[in-house]
Amino acid sequence: MQNTANVPRRGGSVLTDPKLRALIFQLLAIAAVVGLGWYLFDNTQTNLEQRGITSGFAFLNNTAGFGIAQHLIDYTQTDSYGRVFFVGLLNTLLVSVIGIVLATIIGFLLGVARLSPNWLVRQLATLYIETFRNIPPLLQILFWYFAVMLSLPGPRQSLGVLDSFYLNSRGLYMPSPGLSETFGLFFAALLLAVVASVFLGRWARKRRETTGQPFPVLVSVLALLLVIPGAAVLIAGNPLVWTVPELSGFNFAGGWVLIPELIALTLALSIYTAAFIAEIVRAGIQSVSHGQTEAAHSLGLPAGKTLRLVIIPQALRVIIPPLTSQYLNLAKNSSLAAGIGYPDMVSLFAGTVLNQTGQAIEVIAITMSVYLAISISISLFMNWYNGRIALIER
């Protein structure tokens, strides 16, 4: 910012030369950082020696010896800490992905509702947003877990829907699909439909570009995806076998179960983040000036196409950057799982493993790098997407 740097100097001390001063200043700053780092490192070495802790990542191969309530990969107590790491990582990713999807859906609906011509709907959306974004996410998680999930009735008095979904204090039980022997045929049919859709899409675009004639791509693709696999099901029978949970003894057996910690965490995070996303969506839609709508109408575009081809692409450009930071926030907030004992990265690794091994530095470093990696990958992906939809100016 200083424009004095290039001015030739006449007389005066060398010490007043901006270039030299900048150099000295930077050297001092680097020395300070290195010195501080060395000081901390030295202290840590001394402290570790005194406490008899050997540093290094060898502990990752030791046997963990504790059970985990939810693991997406096979896990037993005899597995190593290294495997615990992957269990925790996958659980964190699971919550983040479900949370992001749910929060986006709720947030977009609310954002549109905030702009609804219907007064009541508008007020309700505002009420939702102002309520949930002003309450700490940890408090919401604790509320859903302790006040809602844990006070549900026990397995014997479960709330059941359609005799296949059961909600009780131990979680949500639901049917799980298994592959039957006709699944191969169904899968082949599905593949065929997808390939056909891709070719149809290409052909339609080429035809539109050469002749200007539109082709109803969406409807025909939907039809393809429905008819071909549907025919396979009709010919060969059901490709999936559903295992329905059934009450046996004091608990349910069979099917999938979502543990209450997972439900509380995803609900709280998506409800909290949705409030922020709604505001972002509202601001994005409002940023497209009304003239755009009028121009689209005067070109003869119907309402649906106006929205799809004119309004949304322009609104997305405003929405994407802040939306990215909300996704990042959600992924980072998923670490609040430690508050209710959901076995995520932080509570498993920085909690249990740290207490068992005492390898504070390695464990915290691993945990932090995981979050840094997640943050960087989400922002890289969103930057790429943002670059793709960004306005290409002259």
Partner: protein, 365 residues
């Protein structure tokens, strides 16, 4: 000559005025809209009456023990009985006047800053910012000048929440401004250091920072040098928050037109005087709403100290709900906590919006 006399205006058509027209326009303007209205009304009917029944009509308001909660609804007796603990934590009850006095002094001391006509506001503000923290430390912590010592392990409840939030922002603001200046600096080494620092703290969740400050900080420091738990948490919060403040301030710095920098340099101002007298006053004024929003986020984040075992408002309530004498009060406790947090955060967000309108002095077209 015939003069034209105006006839009195006709009343507007019935369909365009009054309650009915408003209803027609806002709630029943089409089939889809009418269905939406009915659906919203149905939702309200599902939620509101049970909520009012639970929270007000069927609730218990008076009593001293759990046995007094006989009705179906909420048991506010629990909140009444534990109110002191929620506000002050384990602060000795005969010394709680000191907390009250600290809060009253903050309000009385800061009030002149919100009066527009106040003369020498900046000087008063700086004096307040210097004197008040010392006074607050003396009142809350004590141990010298005739006040008994109250160790920080006894602090708790809303008091602790407010202390963490206030110290957090007071520490994060100067550090954040320095980081933002460093990030915009011409010197590559400084820039790299600042960017690394900011991006690191913004990339990790606060909870891991708190974990780090509670388990790793003791390892980093030389033997015998030991901080108290609250100070360790505060260091973590300040470092974390300063990165967010830095990004907000950077937004302000970027919005200052280049001519301002050039004009300041042409006046012969050095770097610090250019920043202090020309750039920062404009940039900070522009980002005050953003800083208030950061503060709201910080205030909500203070609840995370539960993880390292400090008894802030949320943790006091969580502990109280596990008390065997008051089992099953989780809903009441968390609703109360939510209400307190909501009042603070909503108040601040309204204030930030008010500031945004007030400070909008023509930077936007």
């Amino acid at each position: 000559m015939q003069t034209h006399t105006f006839k009195p205006d006709m009343p507007p058509p019935k369909q365009a005025i009054g309650v009915l027209a408003w209803l027609r326009e806002n709630l029943f303007s089409g089939l889809f809209n009418s269905l939406l209205t009915l659906f919203a009304l149905y939702l309200l009917w599902l939620i509101v009456p049970p909520l009012i029944n639970w929270a007000i009509i069927n609730a218990d308001w008076v009593g001293t023990t759990r046995a007094d909660c006989t009705s179906e609804g909420a048991c506010w007796v629990f909140i009444q009985q534990r109110f002191g603990q929620f506000m002050y934590g384990f602060y000795p009850s005969e010394l709680r006047w000191r907390v009250d006095l600290t809060v009253i002094l903050a309000i009385v001391g800061a009030a002149p800053l919100f009066i527009d006509a106040m003369p020498r506001k900046a000087r008063y503000g700086i004096a307040f910012l210097v004197v008040y923290p010392l006074l607050a430390y003396w009142l809350l912590h004590g141990g010298f000048l005739g006040l008994d010592l109250v160790p920080t392990s006894q602090w708790g409840g809303l008091t602790l929440t407010l202390v963490i939030a206030a110290v957090g922002i007071a520490g994060a603001l100067p550090l954040g401004i320095m980081l933002a200046l460093g990030r915009r600096s011409d010197m590559p080494a400084i820039r790299v250091i600042c960017v690394t620092f900011i991006e690191f703290w913004r990339g990790v969740p606060l909870i891991t920072v708190l974990f780090m400050s509670s388990v790793m900080l003791p390892l980093f420091l030389p033997e015998g040098m030991n901080f108290d738990k609250l100070v360790r948490a505060l260091i973590g919060v300040i470092l974390f928050q300063s990165a967010y403040v830095a990004e907000v301030v950077r937004g302000g710095l970027q919005a200052i037109p280049k001519g301002q920098y050039e004009a300041a340099a042409a006046m012969g101002l050095g770097y610090w005087r250019m920043m202090g007298l020309v750039i920062l006053p404009q940039a900070l004024k522009m980002v005050i709403p953003g800083i208030v929003n950061t503060f709201i986020a910080l205030f909500k984040d203070t609840s995370l100290v539960i993880i390292i075992g400090l008894f802030d408002l949320l943790n006091s309530i969580k502990q109280a709900t596990t008390d065997p004498a008051w089992l099953g009060m989780a809903t009441e406790g968390y609703v109360f906590a939510a209400l307190v947090f909501w009042i603070f955060c909503f108040g601040m967000s309204r204030y930030s919006m008010h500031l945004e309108r007030k400070l909008d002095t023509g930077h936007k077209r």
